[in-house]
C-alpha cells in the first residue's frame, strides 16, 4: 500500500468541512471516554460505600451513635446522606410536635430530597454519553456525504474516471463515518451499563429509605403508646 492511502495522510488531505467533522467527532469521543471513566469510578465507589454503610447500619449499632460518628463538616454520600437527612429532621421535629404523623411526614420529605440529590449526582453527565451515542453516527455520515459530494464535483472535471481517481476521495470520506461509529459504539455500550448501575443503586437507596422510615415509625409508635398509657 502506498503512503497516500494511510489514514493520517487521508485525514490531512481531506476538505475543511470533513476535517471539522472529524475534529468534532474526536472531541466527542475523548469527552465521552472521560465521562465513561469518571462515571465508572464514581459508581464503583458509591456501590462500595453503600455496601459498607449498610453493613454498619444493620450491625445493631445505636442510631444516635451512628449519626454522631460521621463528621459533620463533610457532605455525606449515598444512603448515608439519606440517613443523616432523615435522622436530623426526626430529631429536630420530635421536640416541636406531638403528632407522630407530622414527624413521619417531615422525615419522608427530607429523605426524598436527599434521594433526589443523590440521583442527580449519580446520573451526572450520563446524558452527555447518550447524546454522543445517538448523534455521532449522524455527524460522521454528514462528513462522509460531504466528502463524496466534493469528490464527485471534482470528478466531473476529470477526463476519465478510473477507480484509482475516485478511491482516495471515498476513502477519506468514509473515515468520517468510521470515526463517528468509533465514538458512538462505546458511548452506547457504557451509557446502558452505567445507567443500569446507577438506577440499581438508586433503587437500593430507596429501599434503604423505606426501611429507615419504617424503623422511625416503629419507634414513634412505641413512644406514642407509652405516652398514652
Amino acid at each position: 500500500m502506498n503512503d497516500s492511502m494511510s489514514i493520517p495522510h487521508l485525514v490531512m488531505n481531506a476538505s475543511l468541512v470533513v476535517q471539522l467533522v472529524m475534529l468534532l467527532l474526536l472531541a466527542g469521543s475523548i469527552a465521552s471516554w472521560i465521562v465513561i471513566f469518571q462515571r465508572s469510578i464514581v459508581l464503583r465507589r458509591a456501590k462500595q460505600g453503600h455496601r459498607a454503610f449498610e453493613d454498619r447500619f444493620w450491625s445493631g449499632v445505636d442510631l444516635n451513635e451512628l449519626y454522631r460518628e460521621t463528621p459533620a463538616e463533610r457532605e455525606p454520600l449515598g444512603a448515608e446522606h439519606i440517613f443523616r437527612a432523615g435522622f436530623r429532621e426526626f430529631n429536630r421535629l420530635l421536640p416541636k410536635t406531638r403528632s407522630s404523623q407530622a414527624v413521619l411526614d417531615g422525615v419522608q420529605r427530607a429523605m426524598r430530597v436527599a434521594w433526589s440529590r443523590e440521583e442527580e449526582r449519580l446520573n451526572l453527565h450520563l446524558i452527555f454519553l447518550a447524546t454522543v451515542a445517538s448523534a455521532s453516527p449522524y455527524i460522521g455520515l454528514f462528513g462522509t456525504v460531504w466528502g463524496i459530494m466534493g469528490s464527485f464535483q471534482s470528478l466531473s472535471m476529470a477526463q476519465q474516471a478510473t477507480l484509482s481517481t475516485v478511491a482516495p476521495w471515498i476513502a477519506e470520506a468514509l473515515i468520517a463515518t468510521a470515526m463517528g461509529l468509533f465514538a458512538a459504539i462505546p458511548a452506547v455500550i457504557f451509557y446502558n451499563r452505567l445507567s443500569a448501575q446507577s438506577s440499581r443503586l438508586l433503587g437500593q437507596y430507596e429501599d434503604f429509605a423505606e426501611e429507615f422510615h419504617s424503623i422511625l415509625h416503629r419507634n414513634l409508635q412505641g413512644r406514642g403508646e407509652r405516652e398514652a398509657a
Binding site: M1, S6, A31, W33, I34, F37, G49, L163
Partner: protein, 376 residues
C-alpha cells in the same frame, strides 16, 4: 468512608481517555504499513488475458517473476558496479598514497640526480672545452696540409692539361676522317634500301589486286550454290508435308473405322465404374444412416408422422463441416434431436475408403429421417 471518596476528579479520566485514543491511533498506524507488501501486483483491474489456454494468471506471474528477476539482476549489477567503484576508489586512494610516497622518493632522487648531472655537466663542459681546443689546433694543422696539397695538385693539373690538348687535336683529325667515310657508306646503303622498298611495294599491290579478284569470283560462286541448295530444301519440305497429310488422312480413315468399338468398350467400363461407385456409396450412406440412428435420441413426444430432411456437408476426411435442416418436421425439438444425432455420430471415417468420384459426391448430401426408420 474516607475523605477521598467525596469527589472523583476529572484528571485521571482525562488521562485514561487520551491514552485510549492514542492506543487506537497507534494500532491503526501500525497495522496499515504491515499489511502492504501483498498489494504489489496491482493486476486486479487491468485484466489483459489473451490466450484462452492459460486461463490462470500463470503467464502474468511468470512475467512478474521475470520482471522481479530482471530487477534483482539490475540491482545486483548496480551493487557490483558500486562495489567496483568503491574498490576503484579505494585503489585510487591507495595509489594516491603510493604515488605521493613515490613522488617524494622521486623528488629526492631527482635532486640527487640533478646534483650529479650538474657535476657531470660541469666535467663534460670542461672536457669539451679541452677537446675543442685540441680540435681547433688539429684543424688548423690540417688546413695548412690541405692547402699545400692543393697547390701541388694544381701544378700537376696544369701539366696534364697541356698533354691532353695535344692529344685532342690528333683525335679530332681522326674523327673527321672517319665521319666522312661513314657518311659515304650510309648514303649508299640508303639508296639501295629505297630501291628494294619500291620493288616490294609494287609486288604487293599486284598480289592484292589478284587476291581481290579471286575473292569476288569465289563469293559469286558461293551465292549461286546456296540459292540452289535452298530451293532443294524447300521442295523436300513440301514433299514431307504432303506425305504427312496423306498419313493423317489415312489415320483418320482408320480411326473412324475403330471408333465404334472404342465407344462400346468405354461405355461398358463406365457402367462398371458407376456400378462400383454406386455400391460403395450405398454402403457408405447406409453406414452413415446407421451411425446417426444409433446416436439418435428421439424426443419423448415425437409422433411417427414426423419427417425431417438434413443437409450434411462433409470434409474429405469424413469430418462434419456443416449440418442444417433443409426441410423441417415442424417440431423444433425433433429437428434439434436430429442435428444433435448427426453431430454426435460424426466423424464418418469410412469416407476415406470411398473412391474419389464417390467422395466428391458425398461432400454434400441429404438424408431424411423419420422415427419409423429408427425403430425398425
Amino acid at each position: 468512608m474516607a475523605r477521598h471518596e467525596k469527589r472523583v476528579g476529572y484528571g485521571l479520566p482525562t488521562l485514561l481517555a487520551i491514552g485510549v485514543h492514542v492506543a487506537v491511533l497507534l494500532v491503526t498506524a501500525m497495522r496499515w504499513p504491515a499489511g502492504e507488501p501483498e498489494q504489489n501486483t496491482s493486476s486486479i483491474v487491468q485484466a489483459t488475458l489473451v490466450s484462452t489456454e492459460t486461463s490462470t494468471d500463470q503467464a502474468q506471474r511468470a512475467e512478474e517473476a521475470q520482471a522481479a528477476a530482471r530487477r534483482a539482476e539490475q540491482e545486483a549489477q548496480e551493487e557490483q558496479e558500486q562495489a567496483a567503484q568503491r574498490e576503484a576508489e579505494a585503489e585510487a586512494e591507495a595509489n594516491d598514497e603510493q604515488a605521493e610516497a613515490e613522488a617524494a622518493r622521486a623528488a629526492e632522487q631527482q635532486a640527487r640526480e640533478e646534483a650529479r648531472q650538474q657535476a657531470e655537466a660541469e666535467a663534460q663542459r670542461r672536457a669539451q672545452q679541452a677537446e675543442e681546443a685540441a680540435q681547433q689546433r688539429e684543424q688548423r694543422r690540417e688546413e695548412q696540409a690541405r692547402q699545400e696539397a692543393e697547390r701541388k695538385k694544381a701544378e700537376e693539373e696544369a701539366a696534364r692539361k697541356q698533354a691532353a690538348e695535344a692529344e685532342r687535336k690528333k683525335a679530332e683529325e681522326e674523327a673527321q676522317r672517319q665521319a666522312e667515310e661513314e657518311a659515304k657508306r650510309q648514303a649508299e646503303e640508303e639508296a639501295k634500301r629505297q630501291a628494294e622498298e619500291e620493288a616490294q611495294r609494287q609486288a604487293e599491290e599486284e598480289a592484292q589486286r589478284q587476291a581481290e579478284e579471286e575473292a569476288q569470283r569465289q563469293a559469286e560462286e558461293e551465292a549461286q550454290r546456296k540459292a540452289a541448295e535452298e530451293a532443294r530444301k524447300k521442295a523436300e519440305e513440301a514433299r514431307r508435308q504432303a506425305e504427312k497429310a496423306a498419313a493423317a488422312a489415312e489415320a483418320a480413315r482408320r480411326a473412324s473405322e475403330s471408333s465404334l468399338d472404342n465407344l462400346i468398350a468405354g461405355e461398358a467400363e463406365n457402367i462398371a465404374n458407376a456400378r462400383q461407385a454406386e455400391q460403395a456409396s450405398n454402403s457408405f450412406i447406409n453406414l452413415v444412416r446407421g451411425a446417426i440412428e444409433q446416436a439418435w435420441i428421439l424426443p419423448p413426444r415425437a409422433g411417427n408422422q414426423l419427417r425431417a430432411t438434413v443437409r450434411i456437408q462433409l470434409l474429405p476426411t469424413g469430418e462434419l463441416a456443416n449440418a442444417t435442416i433443409s426441410e423441417s418436421s415442424g417440431n423444433a425439438a425433433f429437428d434439434r434431436s436430429v442435428l444433435q444425432a448427426v453431430e454426435r455420430a460424426a466423424p464418418f471415417r469410412e469416407m476415406r475408403d470411398l473412391p474419389a468420384s464417390a467422395q466428391r459426391q458425398f461432400r454434400e448430401f441429404i438424408l431424411d429421417f423419420n422415427p419409423e426408420d429408427a425403430r425398425r
